[in-house]
Structure formats: C-alpha cells, structure tokens
C-alpha cells in the first residue's frame, strides 16, 4: 500500500502574521513550521487568541503571511494575486465556517451549486453534483429546503457539501461544531471522519480539546507558536 502521507498538501516555512487591530499591533502567528500530508485529518487547537484561526486563514489562501511561506498543494500562496488566489481557493480548498454562512434565500441545493457555478459547470451537471453531495452528507431529502428550514447540524452539513463541491485537495473548517449541541457536534465529527476515510485531507480549528481529540493529529498552538504536535494512533 502506498504511503498516503508521503505528499505534503500544506507546508509552512517560518510563517509570521502580524496585523493591527485598532491601535494594537497583533503578532498572531510567530514562526510556524508545519507540514500536513495528503489524507491527513488534523485539528489545530489552543486557547482563544493563540492564532489558530489566523493560521487557518493563511492555510486557506484568504490571508497572506507577513513573512515566511505557505505552500498549499505545491503552490506558494503568497505569490498569488487576488484573482489567482480566488481561483486557487475555488479549485483546491473547501471552507466550512462556524456560522455556516449559507445564503439564506437559496435552497440547500442552490447553496451547494454556488461554487460549481463559479467553476463554470453547466446547470444540469451542477444539479447532479449538488444532489450527489447532499446525498453524501445525508440530506438527500432536504435539497429544496432553505437554511431557515434546516437545523444547525443540517445547515453545517450543507456547508460541508458546498465545501466539497469542486473536489478540493484540502478541507478547512473553523470551529465547525462551535454552534452545535454536543450530540449534533458528534455526528458532524463522525461525518468528518467518514470524509477523511474517503480520502479528503481535513484540517479543522477548535478550542475544544475533546473535539480536537477526534482528529488523528492534534496541533496545539500557544502564543502563535506550535506548542505540541501529536499524532494519535486512533481517533
């Protein structure tokens, strides 16, 4: 069996990120070196303000490092201009957010179709793909429902289907269970486990160590640095 972890999907080299918030100069990420291989299921955890969301934004090419380099799928994301970075995200990265961020006036199906339409897929093809993905996340019978007609867990599943639409190399999730109750959160994490077993490289951020321990690798940040990086035998 080939080593699925042999190829790095993410490689960070001495990444720093500084920004100003009001009058304060925030040094959120302080020299992180990190490699995440294809097929990994990693959790980035740590206390509030440790830089985990900032790191996730850097990994997702929606932010650029102040110094250092971030490679995703072999591309140095800091070298991409806005249009290139956007196209890169569309093709290679899927995002899941804590607050779901579904378009409230579109149906579940249409929400999933959004990135497919951006990728230029025709109507028939994107309908078929969206249906397939909603079926995969267990919402085959909720395609026509609007977000307000879905529970929090169901909305997050739609967001996952949307993130998977263009078959990204990497799925990033920011506190994906943050707005869900414990039972729903568990089901969602089980879905993440299933996604990973089906081949998706998955990195999620959480401040909850119990949730983090469901991943096969737990990277703990403290003050913008990697404090611990533990691979677990079984998640």
């Amino acid at each position: 069996m080939a080593d699925v972890f042999s190829e790095a999907v993410i490689r960070c080299e001495q990444v720093h990120r500084r920004y100003t918030m009001g009058d304060a100069d925030v040094h959120a990420v302080r020299g992180i070196d990190l490699e995440i291989a294809r097929g990994e299921f990693a959790a980035i955890t740590g206390p509030s303000g440790c830089g985990k969301s900032t790191l996730l934004h850097l990994l997702g090419a929606i932010d650029a490092p102040s110094s250092g380099r971030v490679f995703v799928n072999g591309r140095d994301t800091a070298q991409l201009d806005d249009a290139e970075a956007t196209a890169f995200r569309l093709r290679h990265i899927g995002f899941v957010f804590q607050r779901f961020y579904l378009m409230p006036t579109l149906s579940a199906q249409e929400n999933v179709e959004l990135p497919l339409a951006e990728a230029g897929l025709g109507k028939t093809a994107r309908r078929a793909r969206a249906s397939e993905l909603l079926g995969y996340v267990g919402l085959g019978d909720r395609r026509g429902h609007r977000p307000t007609q879905l529970s929090g867990g169901e909305q997050q599943r739609v967001a996952i289907a949307r993130a998977l639409a263009n078959e990204p190399a990497l799925l990033l999730a920011d506190e994906p269970t943050g707005e869900l109750d414990a039972a729903t959160g568990e089901k969602l994490l089980a879905l993440f486990g299933q996604l990973n077993r089906d081949g998706t490289t998955l990195v999620f951020v959480t401040h909850d160590s119990v949730v983090a321990n469901t991943a096969r690798r737990v990277i703990r940040l403290l003050d913008g640095r990697v404090a611990t990086d533990v691979r677990q035998a079984s998640a």
């Binding site: 932010d63 196209a87 579109l106």
Partner: protein, 407 residues
C-alpha cells in the same frame, strides 16, 4: 436563469417589504420623470398637431392680429382668397368668419358661429349626421339651412340632430328685434378643434353667415388657413413671405412661427419640468444607492464567504450591480405604468379647464421621449448600484469574517 441572477433575485426577496417600498419609490420617481417629459413636450407637440390637424400650415389674419385674437375681420376677402388660390404653390385655402348669432326662444341666447366652406374647412371633423352643403350647392332660400353643431350645443340646448331652430343676427337689445333670421336644421354633430369643448358652437356655410350678418359683412372673413403644396418648412416660409408681400392688409403666420411663440410662452413650464425631472432622477439614484448599500453592509460576512469559497471580485461586483439593475428595472416598469395612468388622469383634469381647445392635450405620449427618459433613469439607477457593488467587491475577507464572528 444564471446562478448570479438567482442569487440577486433571492437577495431582493430577502426583505420583501423593503424591496417593495424601494421599487415603489423608484416607480414614483420614474412616473414623475415620464410625466414631466410628457408635459414638457406634450403642450408644444399638441399645439403643433392641433394647428396641423387638417394640414393647413399658414394662418392669414387681419394685419397686426393673431388668428381670432380680436374680432377684427378682413374686407375684400374674396379677392384675397382668389389670389391665394391662384398661387400654384398653395394647395388649398379655407376662409372662415367667426361671429355670434342669436338663438331666439332657446335655453341660451346666442351661439358662437363659424361661417365655413365645408369642402375646404379645417375647423371640425364630422362625428355624426350630415355635413353642410359644399360651396356652390343650390339651396332654396327658404329651406332650413344645414348646420353642424358641437356636442355641447346639443347637450345644452336639449336638441337632437334633425331638429330645426332659428338663428338671427343684427340684434337690437332695446327693441328686442333682430334684423335678419334664418331657419336652420341641425344636420350634423362635429368635433371642433379650436373651440373649447364646453363651448356650444355652430358651423354654417360662409355665404349664408355673411348674408345673415348683412351688407357690411358681405365680403369679410376673420381668418383664412392656407396649405402649402410642399410641406417642408422652407416652402411654407416662401409661401408665407409671398402672402406677406402681396397682401399688405393681412398678417400671415406659419405653424412653426406660432409654435415658436407658444414655446417661448411655455418655456418656464419646460424649465420646471426639467428641474422636477432632474429631481426624480436624483431620487431614483439615491433610492437604489441607499438600498443596495444597506444590503451590502448587512451581508459583509456572506460576501466575505462568497469570496472565500471562490467568487472573484468581478463576480461580487456583477452580483451586486445586478441587484441594483433588477431593482431599477422593476421600478421603471412600474413607473411606466404609473406615469401613463397619472398622465391620463391629470390630462383629463387639465383638459376640463375652461377656454381650452377641445383637441388640446397637456400630456402627450411620445415613445421616443419616454424611452429616452426611462433609459436615463435606468442608467442612473444602474450607476447608483456601482458604488456599493465596488465596495462589496473590495470587502477584506479576513477582517469581515472576524468582525462578523465578533458581531
């Protein structure tokens, strides 16, 4: 339907009451703009079409007067009309004599009467019954004289077509006598172009009106209308100049000159219409800009996510721009309908003002002017969507997500 259109429509449906109010606001602005354009162009165009109703481009009136501006008449009318008709550049000449005839024993004492030659007259169109006899028709001097009357005449007198009545001239108020009278039969109902709709009016053959008025009016006319054989303004002006030079006792005025004079008098109306039109354009612009800006500010997080999942800046710009365009289009469609309805309503009210010619309109539908004004509003509304669209496209993804998470 494209995904972008679906999303734009969905965004507008998100706050239906707000969107509806904005669309209504734009519709009112569009209706106001349309009505102002219709009013600005309507009066002069209506006046032009009124003057050209029967194709006569020239009015010949007593020297120094405007047509029917005074009770002055032109003596030696036959010679003048013959001279005009002899000019090969003149296709037709219609002399008329306006006067007031008494109506002994009727519900109202007198009627404004036009003496006309029915075969060339340009003052009315027959709507019911029979017309007056053409010039040269022999009619027994004792037979009732066929008259064409206005609807208001029939309504106010309570008479019907076919009824006979007596008209008289040369009234002596003290002796309560008339010098001459004639039995007339109400043969036809006509719509008179230049006489207010509420004014009873009667048309009789010119020759008979002259006879009724007596020897002093045997060869008089109030006005003659002339039609140039070639309708272009240069030819009309050449005929006008020829009349002015060859007939020193008359003033010849062309339709174009009359319209110019009217336009000068109506210029403040156009200025008012221009100002109100500009205000309505501004209102449309502000409504679209406000609503779309509000919508963008509310959706900063959503827009940041759209950008994060792969929507290009241009895509966001087009998306928001489309929202403004849809909003403007819906408002303009409603405004077109509202503008036409209000114009008709206002026109009905204004046309009832006493003293206005029956065929005069204040608001005239001109497709070209209407489309131009609505296109202007559409451009204005579309431009109004550009600024919020550009702001939406420039939303910083990370900061907006962070702010939205905190908010």
């Amino acid at each position: 339907m494209s995904m972008r259109t679906t999303l734009a429509l969905a965004t507008l449906r998100r706050h239906p009451a707000r969107t509806m109010l904005a669309v209504l606001g734009i519709a009112v602005a569009a209706a106001l703009l349309l009505d102002m354009v219709m009013l600005a162009t309507g009066m002069s165009e209506s006046f032009r079409s009124l003057l050209l109703t029967r194709g006569y481009q020239l009015r010949v009136s007593p020297k120094g007067t405007l047509p029917f501006d005074s009770e002055a008449t032109i003596d030696g009318a036959t010679a003048i009309v013959q001279a005009l008709r002899a000019n090969p550049d003149i296709k037709a000449v219609s002399p008329s004599l306006g006067t007031t005839l008494a109506l002994p024993g009727q519900t109202f004492p007198s009627v404004f009467t036009l003496g006309l030659e029915s075969d060339v007259q340009g003052d009315y169109v027959l709507e019911a019954g029979r017309d007056m006899p053409v010039t040269g028709d022999s009619l027994s001097p004792t037979a009732p004289l066929p008259a064409v009357v206005s609807k208001s005449f029939l309504v106010r007198s309570g008479r019907q077509l076919g009824d006979t009545l007596t008209v008289a001239a040369g009234i002596d108020a003290q002796l309560r006598t008339t010098a001459r009278s004639r039995l007339v039969v109400l043969s036809g109902e006509g719509r008179f172009f230049y006489v207010p709709a509420e004014t009873p009016v009667m048309a009789l053959p010119l020759r008979d009106v002259r006879t009724l008025l007596g020897a002093a009016y045997r060869d008089r006319m109030s006005l003659a209308m002339a039609e140039s054989r070639r309708g272009d303004s240069v030819s009309v002006e050449a005929v006008r100049a020829w009349i002015a030079a060859s007939q020193p006792r008359v003033t010849a005025i062309s339709t174009e000159t009359a319209i110019r004079q009217v336009e000068e008098r109506l210029s403040y109306f156009r200025q008012l219409a221009f100002v109100l039109g500009a205000i309505s354009l501004g209102i449309g612009f502000l409504l679209v800009a406000t609503l779309v800006t509000l919508s963008v500010n509310e959706r900063r997080g959503e827009i940041a996510v759209l950008r994060a999942i792969g929507t290009q800046k241009g895509g966001v710009l087009r998306q928001v721009f489309l929202e403004g365009l849809l909003l403007s289009s819906a408002g303009i469609a409603g405004g077109l309908l509202l503008g036409i309805v209000t114009a008709r309503w206002l026109n009905g009210i204004l046309r009832d003002f006493p003293g206005l010619p029956a065929a005069f309109d204040f608001f005239l539908w001109s497709p070209e002017a209407a489309w131009k004004s609505l296109a202007l509003l559409l451009i204005s509304g579309t431009l109004a969507g550009l600024l919020p669209a550009w702001r939406a496209a420039s939303i910083p993804i990370v900061r907006s997500l962070r702010e939205d998470a905190v908010g």
